[in-house]
């Protein structure tokens, strides 16, 4: 059994879960000491977890791949999963790299290399879906690298700048 701490919209649950593999579609687990029976039907091929039945209650789900939120019939829910058995905490991956959050066209660059920026400060403007979208600084620091230029088309995830 693997023990996880799962937080949904601020409510914390402790989940004990047996080892799984892709073929598993029925499993019993312990949530806050109570046994829970789960069915995970596979429908239409190897999709991400798309719906489950928990103790006879069906849920259709969209779960983001970073496991930070999920959408259910009841709306969007904030998620956090922590492995209670992990001896080493996962490194905080909040580095200062600024990547293109969507593909689009850079219409304006509002900072220069070497500038000091505050977390949340607009760095550049990216046009997509007929809207101008500000890309903001993920942290406070100095722009050590700036590869974005006005007029440039960028793909999803392209490195735009780095802040240290």
């Amino acid at each position: 059994m693997n023990r996880l701490s799962v937080t949904i919209d601020g409510h914390v649950f402790t989940v004990e879960i047996p080892p799984l593999n892709r073929a598993t579609n029925e499993v019993s687990m312990i949530v806050d000491g109570q046994e829970v029976h789960v069915l995970m039907p596979e429908v239409g091929g190897p999709e991400p977890l798309d719906w489950i039945i928990v103790n006879g209650r069906p849920y259709e789900l969209v779960i983001d791949r970073d496991l930070h939120w999920m959408r259910a019939r009841s709306g969007l829910h904030q998620v956090e999963v922590r492995d209670l058995d992990a001896t080493v905490a996962r490194p905080a991956s909040g580095d200062g790299r600024v990547k293109a959050p969507i593909p689009g066209l850079i219409t304006r660059v509002l900072v220069a290399a070497g500038d000091h920026v505050e977390a949340g400060q607009p760095l550049l403007v990216l046009e997509a879906m007929k809207m101008e979208n500000e890309v903001r600084a993920p942290r406070t620091g100095t722009i050590t690298h700036l590869s974005a230029a006005a007029g440039q088309s960028v793909t999803l995830g392209a490195l735009l700048a780095e802040i240290e």
Binding site: N2, I8, D9, V15, I63, G120, A128, M129, R136
Partner: protein, 493 residues
Amino acid sequence: MFQKILIANRGEIAVRVIRTCRDMGIRTVALYDDSDLGSLHVRLADECVRLASGALYRDVATIVQIARDCGADAVHPGYGFLSEHAEFAHACEDAGITFIGPDSATLAAVRNKIGTLENVSAAGFAVPRHSARPYGESETAALMDAAETLGYPLVIKSYSGGRSHGTRLVREPEHLAPLAQHAHSAALTAFGDDRLYIEEAFLPGRYVEVQVLGDRHGALVHLGERDGSIQHNHRKIIEESPAPGLSDAQRDELCGQAVAIARLLGCHSVCTVEFVLDDQGRFVFTEVKARIQVEHPVTEMRTGIDLVREQIRLAAGEPLGRTQDDIILKGCAIQARINAEDPWNHYLPSPGRLRRFRFPGGPNVRVDTYAYGGCDIPVRYDPLLAKIVAWDVDRVACLGRLRRAIADFAISGVQTNLPLIQRILDDPDFAAGTYDSEFTRRQLLNTLASSGNLRDLAVAAALAYARRSADGNGALPERASSGWHRESRRLPQ
């Protein structure tokens, strides 16, 4: 009747128009660019033509030439793009092709928004105080002076083009300059004209509009009003008819004014007369939209009238064929706009490939969209992915039905504002119909999940975590790979 109609648009409205053309036995020609070749409007049309020029759906000369080449006898412009473009209408007229909408002279007149306000005011109707002329990007000082004279709050609007792209609400003087800069730029992007004008804002107010229908022979009726006060960034999110909370006397006055103004401005075809209802209960005329609106299905559901079919019929010169007494407004209809965007991350657009896309259904639920499972949501165009409309005998039943339909709409692959719409529909003020244009400034709470549900969702999250670990190397994918900033994805309480 027309034999072949070129649809000079894309997205859900192009699909909408193609469907009615086919219902009527009229052949259709769709346009596409390389990024929306996969959209439904291309699949459903009889013919399709690729747009290659930089201006794409705004390229007047190319589109008129395509219409000639394919032998279309009419052009439907949809909304946005060239739908209120007098020069385009004129070029069609010159080519002997019917522009499905008002004639170019009427379009030119209502495009002059300041002149229109003055006409309507002269006829004795209330209009907002406004700047006497529009201002280009280089005229910041003059714009500041005009704002000083007008006072705050005020609204910046684009002088050309009706959709929300250039509109900004300015609550305080210090916000004028940066907001105007954005608005100039957005108006230029959207309409090719950076000019803006300013207008008195009514806060709190309600945005109400009246659908009118007129033929080329002078007959004119209204099809009731719609309320579009629930907006974000001046884009409507929810529209409904009837506007909640109006008395019968108010409704009669509103619709009567709309018909009189439409007649004054020479509107025919399918037009909308827009008003603000201020906190004194006064209707203030703001604009005329001389084309089909995004929210037209709300009116279709209440009246049983296919507005696109009427528009085509009227453009072909057919008489209206109905009087005001023939129009029966039945029950309540509410529409929600589903956008491919992330309301929890600065409304960042969310293009990409749709995976699951399963419609809600049942009686009196309608979905309009250009998308389908497996298609790509293009990055170039606006984020409107689908519209859901529900109808029922009264507002309480209609709201119950729309809530259910929203919860049943299964979309994966791109982010959408569905969860935001759920929160709006569940808000007590929305449910009571007592909202106004300040509604979306408030915090919207998630009230749908019980604690038992949250426990079940925790189980789902644990399983998703365990399955990922079982699949790969035990680590979660690197957050940067998704391209989102974790900091900005915090959910509002």
